[in-house]
C-alpha cells in the first residue's frame, strides 16, 4: 500500500468518524424523543394543537435538509447572537428538526393503529391520559415503529454529511481535507491527486455502516408485518 494511505485513513477514522457518530447519535435520540412526543400529542382531539404539529411536520419534511441546515447555521445567529452554534451542532439541530417530523408522522399512525379497546381497558384500570399512553399505548406502538426507526438511523447517518457543507468535521470533511492536503507540495502533501481513492474509501465506509442496518430494517419489517 502506498505511504500516503495510512495517515489519511487514520485522520478520517480518528477525526472524522467521531464527528459523524456524535451528530448521528444525538440526532437520532433527539428525533425519537421529540417525534414520539409530537406524534402522540397529535392524536389528541384539539384542533389548534393538531394544526400546529401538522405544520411542523409538513414544513420540516418538505424543506430540503440542506436549507434547514442553513437556517440552523446562518439563520438562527442572525435572530440572536445567543443562537450561534458550531457546524456540527447546527447540523445536529437541523437533523433533529427533520428527523422528529418523520418520527412524529410515523408515531401518529402507530398510536392510532392501537385498537380503541386498549385505551378503554387502560382507562378502566384507572390510568389517566399520561399513564394510559406511557404504560399501555406507546409500548405497543413503539414495536411497530422499530423498522422506521432503523431506516431513520440510516438516513440520519447519511444526511450527517451535510455538516460538511458548513465546515463541520465529519467523515466527508476529513476526507476532503486530506484529499486537498495531498495535492499540496511536501512536506505537507505529496503533490498528487488521490480524490478518487479517498472519496471512494469514504463511500465504502458509509456502505459498511449502512448496509447491515438497511438489511436489519427489511428483516424487522417482514417479522413485524
Amino acid at each position: 500500500m502506498p505511504d500516503w494511505v495510512e495517515p489519511v485513513a487514520r485522520y478520517i477514522l480518528t477525526e472524522g468518524l467521531p464527528g459523524t457518530l456524535r451528530v448521528s447519535s444525538i440526532a437520532v435520540v433527539g428525533s425519537a424523543l421529540i417525534g414520539v412526543l409530537f406524534g402522540t400529542l397529535m392524536t389528541i382531539k384539539f384542533l389548534p394543537l393538531q394544526m400546529l404539529i401538522r405544520l411542523y411536520i409538513e414544513v420540516f419534511r418538505g424543506l430540503p435538509i440542506l436549507v434547514t441546515v442553513f437556517i440552523a447555521f446562518f439563520g438562527l445567529p442572525s435572530i440572536s447572537p445567543r443562537l450561534e452554534f458550531d457546524p456540527l451542532t447546527a447540523a445536529t439541530i437541523a437533523l433533529v428538526l427533520w428527523g422528529s417530523a418523520q418520527v412524529a408522522e410515523a408515531t401518529r399512525g402507530a398510536v392510532q393503529s392501537i385498537p380503541r379497546e386498549q385505551h378503554e381497558a387502560a382507562s378502566a384500570l384507572g390510568f389517566g391520559w399520561a399513564g394510559r399512553h406511557g404504560f399501555v399505548i406507546l409500548p405497543q406502538a413503539l414495536r411497530r415503529l422499530l423498522p422506521p426507526f432503523v431506516s431513520l438511523l440510516v438516513n440520519i447517518i447519511q444526511n450527517s454529511t451535510l455538516a460538511q457543507v458548513i465546515g463541520g468535521l465529519d467523515i466527508l470533511e476529513a476526507g476532503e481535507r486530506q484529499s486537498e492536503r495531498l495535492t499540496s507540495f511536501p512536506p505537507a502533501g505529496i503533490g498528487e491527486i488521490h480524490a478518487f481513492e479517498i472519496f471512494g474509501g469514504v463511500m465504502v465506509l458509509f456502505f459498511l455502516i449502512s448496509f447491515p442496518l438497511t438489511r436489519l430494517a427489511a428483516r424487522l419489517e417482514k417479522r413485524l408485518a
Binding site: V59, F199, F207
Partner: protein
C-alpha cells in the same frame, strides 16, 4: 444601522431591518434564473430517473440474468451511501480518471443516478404487483413477451408505482439544492450568494423556504389527486 455599529442586531432591530419585498424586488431576476435552473436540473433528472426506473425495474421484476444482479448492486450502493458523497465522487474524483464534466452535467447526472436507483425499486414493486393472470391473458391473446410488457405490465404496474415514484421525484427536486457544493447556480446557491453580499440572510432563507415548500407541497398534492384518478378499477 445595527450592522454598521459592529454589534449584533437584537430582535427588534432585526425586525426593523427585515425587508423581504425589497430583497425580492432587487434580486428577482437572479432568483428567477436560479429557480429556472433548479427546474431544468430537476426536469432532466426526473425524466432520466423515470427511464432508468422503468427499464431496470422491469429487468428486476422479470429476473433478467446479469442485468438484474447488476441493478441490485447499483441500487444497494446508491441507497447505502450519502448522495453528497456520490456528488463528490462525480465532481472531484472522476476528473482524476480523465472524466471532466461541467457543473450542469454533474448536477443533473448525480441526482438522476440517485433517483434512478430508488425509482427502479418503485417500478420493480409496481411490476411485481401486477397479477400473474393479466400477463397470462396477454400471452393467451397471442402477444409476445415484449408486447405483453408494453401493453399489460407497464401501464398497470406503472400506475401502481406512480405514488412512490412521485415521492422519489420530490426527493430529486429537493436534492438539487445540494448542487450548492459544486457551485452550480440553482436556487439555493443563488439565494445564498446574494445573501453573502447583502447580508440579508433571513430574507434569502425565507425565499428558499417559501419556494421549496411551494414546489414540494404542490407535487405531493398532485400525488393525492393522481392516486384517486389513476387508481385501478379493482382498487376503487
Amino acid at each position: 444601522m445595527a450592522a454598521e455599529s459592529g454589534h449584533f442586531p437584537d430582535l427588534p432591530m432585526l425586525l426593523a431591518t427585515y425587508d423581504l419585498s425589497a430583497f425580492v424586488s432587487e434580486n428577482w431576476e437572479e432568483l428567477l434564473d436560479g429557480l429556472l435552473n433548479t427546474l431544468k436540473v430537476s426536469g432532466f433528472a426526473v425524466a432520466g430517473a423515470f427511464v432508468i426506473g422503468a427499464v431496470l425495474g422491469a429487468a428486476r421484476a422479470h429476473r433478467i440474468p446479469v442485468v438484474s444482479q447488476l441493478t441490485a448492486v447499483y441500487v444497494e450502493v446508491i441507497r447505502n451511501t450519502p448522495i453528497l458523497v456520490q456528488i463528490f465522487m462525480i465532481f472531484y474524483a472522476l476528473p482524476q480518471l480523465g472524466i471532466l464534466l461541467n457543473q450542469f452535467t454533474v448536477a443533473w447526472l448525480s441526482v438522476m443516478i440517485w433517483g434512478g436507483a430508488f425509482n427502479s425499486e418503485n417500478f420493480r414493486a409496481g411490476f411485481e404487483a401486477v397479477p400473474h393472470r393479466y400477463r397470462e391473458a396477454g400471452y393467451a391473446l397471442g402477444f409476445g413477451p415484449r408486447s405483453t410488457f408494453l401493453n399489460v405490465t407497464l401501464p398497470i404496474g406503472g400506475r401502481i408505482a406512480l405514488p412512490s415514484s412521485i415521492n422519489t421525484y420530490i426527493s430529486v427536486v429537493k436534492n438539487t439544492s445540494l448542487m450548492f457544493v459544486i457551485g452550480y447556480a440553482e436556487l439555493t446557491t443563488t439565494a445564498l450568494n446574494i445573501s453573502a453580499l447583502t447580508l440579508e440572510t433571513l430574507e434569502a432563507l425565507t425565499v428558499l423556504g417559501v419556494v421549496y415548500l411551494a414546489l414540494v407541497w404542490t407535487l405531493s398534492a398532485s400525488i393525492r389527486l393522481l392516486e384517486s384518478r389513476l387508481a385501478l378499477p379493482e382498487a376503487r
